[in-house]
């Protein structure tokens, strides 16, 4: 049975973030605000960077605001001014990525003005941006979200969102299904998924954590990963990405959303996150971690595998 999800607070949130953006741009607190604005299609949205307080009314928040805007703070920052503090609108999942970037010295907290969204879920895709948000249309990541209210932001709209009804989790049940397979079957599953890859690198471009200036996969001396979209190179690319995101990925699921070949990339990342939670009790959250689980060592770490 399809369950409707309450998004009634989103228009109040829109008003609130417009007022705040107007204020902070007007008094010079920030030089720009990164947020969402309406797009050409009815109901659709797109990211925008506004620098003038009179543009504040262009901002909005709806269930169609899918993008993780944090990527505009690292590599996709062409339109973002280099001077002054930057305001940015973050959902809980986006904030976890931003916090990860703070821990990796990519951002400085004092250069940011965080506008948190008390989120009640967003759509899974923009194929039908005006669709009602319900248990069928909601993004898979939102089904098991535990961080819908961001913490530690500079501003939060004073709007109560009611919270989600109990929904069947997607990723944890998929992980359980894969874990129940034999290693051979599991390997077959992933090989088949990766064989679809066309090496468009959309996953890399949209990922806030792929902030390297030169991706190791683009290097040719020595060539670490085969660049053509053939099985061995595809496999290498996705394994490198999974390993590089292990202990860092915040689960914004943007990679999976933008993948034109529907490879379940976030499923792989969730599995890695689960492993790291179990092994090192470490997971992405709203608190900056000085060291990630794979860049820290202490003598209490499990070392039974060494002997």
């Amino acid at each position: 049975m399809t369950q409707t999800i309450n998004t009634s607070g989103y228009s109040a949130i829109t008003d609130s973030i417009r007022n705040e953006a107007r204020r902070i741009l007007g008094d010079g607190t920030v030089s720009a605000v990164i947020g969402y604005t309406s797009s050409r299609r009815e109901g659709s949205t797109q990211p925008t960077v506004i620098t003038k307080s009179e543009d504040a009314d262009k901002l909005l928040f709806t269930a169609a605001c899918l993008n993780n805007l944090v990527v505009y703070l690292t590599k996709a920052k062409k339109d973002v001014p280099h001077e002054g503090r930057i305001g940015i609108i973050v959902k809980g999942c986006d904030l976890k990525a931003l916090v990860g970037l703070l821990g990796e010295s990519q951002l400085k907290r004092e250069n940011l003005y965080l506008i948190g969204i008390p989120c009640n879920g967003v759509l899974g895709s923009l194929f039908n941006p005006s669709a009602e948000l319900n248990s069928e249309t909601i993004a898979p990541k939102c089904r098991e979200c535990t961080d819908r209210i961001p913490a530690g932001c500079d501003f939060m709209p004073d709007v109560e969102t009611v919270g989600l009804p109990e929904l069947n989790p997607f990723y944890s049940s998929e992980i359980a299904r894969l874990e129940a397979l034999t290693p051979v079957e599991r390997w077959e599953y992933w090989k088949e998924q990766f064989s679809k890859c066309i090496k468009c690198y959309a996953c890399r471009q949209v990922c806030p954590f792929c902030f390297c200036e030169q991706c190791l996969c683009d290097r040719n001396r020595p060539q670490m990963v085969e660049q053509t979209p053939r099985p061995s190179g595809n496999l290498a690319w996705h394994l490198v990405r999974a390993m590089h995101l292990a202990g860092r990925c915040a689960g914004c699921a943007e990679c999976e959303r933008v993948c034109p070949m529907d490879i379940p990339l976030n499923l792989l990342n969730r599995k890695m996150a689960k492993e790291l939670k179990e092994m090192y009790n470490s997971e992405a959250g709203f608190e900056v971690r000085e060291k990630g689980p794979l860049t820290s060592f202490d003598e209490h770490d499990d070392q039974s595998f060494i002997r």
């Binding site: 990796e104 010295s105 990519q106 902030f211 390297c212 200036e213 030169q214 991706c215 190791l216 290097r219 001396r221 020595p222 060539q223 670490m224 590089h244 000085e290 060291k291 990630g292 794979l294 860049t295 820290s296 060592f297 003598e299 002997r307």
Partner: protein, 665 residues
């Protein structure tokens, strides 16, 4: 174009037994870039090295590959030879066809094929080697000694006598270690205290030695010649500078019934205490767990009676940092106990001996305390349960040791001798008593050792029974010892008054944690590993850290003292130079691609990664990236493996070199 020389070593027969070395040499000569290839019986010998040097000159070689043993063994040898022939030493590489090939394979054809491939990999790798200039770093001429037993004391005295500063850190309130607990020592039966305490006093009075007792190593940073060691001085609750050691606090302390660990819990001590009367320093410690003042806030008798006002209940742990150039680890041993072990532990206890619950079953160290003139019984052999003099004493050898099923397969080395000594001490003190020893075999090599052992049997009337004990149990006030005498082939049952177990020598608890702080390796029992079992027995694989005494393996006093002096000699050799040459195998950051995530900085165990600002010509900050201090970098390569954008390269092990090796396969 490279002109590579390939030199295949037979290693006597170590390699040539399984590898057709001539075929490897002839195949190598066909590989691209190889100008000269040959084989020789002992490449590391003088004629072998001369062969390499002559070939470099005659064939105008640009790179050298020596296919022989592990680079850990002879890389330095051949790099030196290459350097003498005018090549940069880092243009010479080793292909390991011994440990990686001939020693681990039996099929000659396949081993030969593998050796050819290993050589081929190294040829491709050496082509990408760069000339690396040597790095020199200053040497801090101060040594740290960890552990104040006989090993640490000897090493500290030797280094200090050469005029260098020494910092000695001891976990317990007094130095002395286990040797201070012993009664008399084999093979001469001189009193341990008599030979030990003067050394302890020498150490305390030495102008070059700083002593930190009741202190532990908190953290170790840096590298050979330049360590920064953080020491936690635990709160003693007594001001070391004010205390005169008069001992009135100890006499007046109302808490008098605390088992004294120094006396193996047979004697009692007070809550404010020195472990033994000859303690150095003679400054008491308050045992906060048992002190009435700390438990209830009422008492403070010691503070009232202390003339100089040295008692300070508010003292806290303090951390101090000592810069040192070398570290000698001398943390010693502890004895295995037969008590029940935690589930899943690889080492098991002895249920058949009552898991340590029979009061008159004691270990060798407890017997030492009973026999010691300064011990809890004043040197009388009295059993713990009822204080009676035991007339029949059974000694059991190899308890824990040499028993794979109990989890310890090694021999503890000292027990045969000390048990022989115990039978003598017992015979000297209880003339009408009888000592029995159950043993597997007597392992008594060493100067005057066999004579000593035989004396215990031939003159001191100990009865040695070759066989093991299967069970001990209490029967009335006797302990029934059920064993076998395999020489006669009968079961033996002795009703003993006291049973003394020669339990295994184990590394100190926490030895593994200390090793992790120091960055040194240890074996599965937690004994510290030497760099080479035969040729570098006192050095760790980590440069600048040396080993002395039983922390490296079971040892008696003469061996421990020898090793301590050897470690001191190594430290002195290090301190003989003002600057130290270091291998230029260090990491470098590619500034163009580094994005400053500092994953490298987080994983660097040596604190070698710093932050560096990149500015344009106008001085505008463009980015902050990682910089590796080559003086600090130890070349471990962890940063290289961690860097997500592959912006760190380890000289000598660059990605290009590694990939070239893989592609050669």
């Amino acid at each position: 174009m490279s002109r590579i020389g390939v030199f295949i070593c037979h290693c006597g027969e170590n390699i040539s037994r399984t590898v057709d070395v001539e075929r490897v040499a002839s195949q190598a000569s066909l590989m691209a870039g190889v100008a000269f290839s040959t084989d020789y019986k002992y490449m590391c010998s003088d004629p072998g090295q001369t062969l390499v040097k002559k070939a470099i000159a005659e064939h105008n070689l640009t790179h050298v590959v020596v296919a022989a043993c592990s680079p850990r063994m002879h890389e330095r040898t051949f790099r030196k030879a290459a350097e003498q022939a005018g090549l940069n030493p880092y243009l010479c590489e080793m292909a390991n066809i011994r440990e990686h090939c001939s020693w681990v394979h039996e099929n000659r054809e396949e081993a030969t094929q593998k050796a050819i491939e290993i050589v081929g990999m190294l040829i491709e790798r050496v082509k990408k080697n760069r000339i690396l200039p040597t790095i020199t770093v200053p040497v801090t001429k101060r040594a740290l000694v960890i552990g104040g037993g006989i090993a640490g004391i000897q090493a500290a005295l030797d280094v200090a006598d050469c005029g260098h500063q020494v910092v000695l850190v001891e976990r317990e309130p007094s130095i002395g270690g286990h040797m201070a607990q012993l009664s008399e020592t084999f093979p001469t039966l001189d009193c341990s205290q008599c030979i030990m305490t003067p050394k302890m006093v020498d150490l305390a009075n030495h102008p070059n030695i700083t002593l930190h007792t009741y202190s532990e190593i908190e953290q170790v940073d840096g590298y050979i010649g330049n360590f920064q060691v953080t020491i936690r001085k635990k709160a003693r609750s007594v001001d070391e500078h004010k205390c005169t050691g008069c001992g009135i606090c100890i006499t007046k302390c109302p808490q008098k019934k605390i088992p004294n660990i120094f006396d193996c819990n047979i004697g009692m001590r007070t809550a404010i205490y020195v472990p033994f009367p000859q303690a150095v320093p003679n400054v008491p410690v308050i045992d906060r767990e048992n002190c009435t003042m700390f438990k209830s806030g009422k008492c403070g008798v010691c503070q009232k009676v202390c003339g100089p006002g040295a008692i300070d209940f508010t003292q806290e742990d303090i951390l101090i940092t000592e810069p040192v150039g070398a570290i000698i680890v001398a943390t010693g041993f502890e004895l295995y106990t037969i008590t029940e072990k935690a589930k899943g532990s690889p080492i098991k206890g002895y249920g058949e001996f009552g898991h340590g619950k029979i009061p008159d079953v004691i270990d060798g160290m407890t017997f030492e305390r009973l026999a010691s003139a300064s011990g809890p019984t004043g040197g009388k052999i009295l059993r713990p349960s009822d204080g009676k003099e035991p007339k029949q004493v059974v000694f059991i050898q190899c308890v824990g040791s040499r028993s794979r099923e109990k989890g310890i397969s090694y021999c503890s080395k000292v027990c045969c001798m000390y048990t022989a000594k115990h039978t003598m001490l017992y015979h000297h003190k209880v003339h009408d008593g009888q000592a029995y020893v159950f043993f597997m075999d007597a392992r008594v090599p060493g100067k005057s050792y066999d004579e000593f052992w035989r004396r215990s049997i031939e003159e001191e009337e100990a009865v040695y029974i070759r066989g093991m004990v299967s069970r001990l149990y209490q029967k009335g006030d006797k302990i029934v010892v059920m064993g076998s005498d395999i020489a006669v082939g009968v079961q033996v049952e002795i009703e003993a008054d006291l049973v003394v177990l020669a339990t295994a020598v184990q590394p100190q608890k926490g030895a593994d944690l200390l090793a992790q702080k120091l960055g040194i390796s240890y074996d599965k029992y937690n004994f510290y590993s030497e760099a080479h079992a035969k040729l570098r027995p006192v050095e760790c694989a980590t440069a600048g850290i040396y080993l002395a005494g039983a922390c490296q393996g079971p040892k008696d006093i003469p061996d421990t003292v020898s090793q301590a002096s050897a470690a001191a000699a190594k430290v002195m050799a290090l301190f003989s130079k003002d600057r130290l040459e270091r291998e230029p195998i260090v990491a470098r950051v590619k500034e163009a691609t580094c994005v400053g995530c500092f994953a490298c900085k987080k994983v660097c165990a040596y604190g070698a990664v710093e932050e560096k600002e990149i500015r344009d010509r106008q001085g505008n900050l463009l980015k902050v990236i990682a910089y590796v201090n080559p003086g600090v970098c130890a070349g471990c390569g962890t940063c290289q493996a961690t860097c997500p954008s592959k912006s760190v390269e380890l000289d000598g092990y660059t990605d290009e070199q590694i990939v070239a090796m893989i592609e050669a396969l």
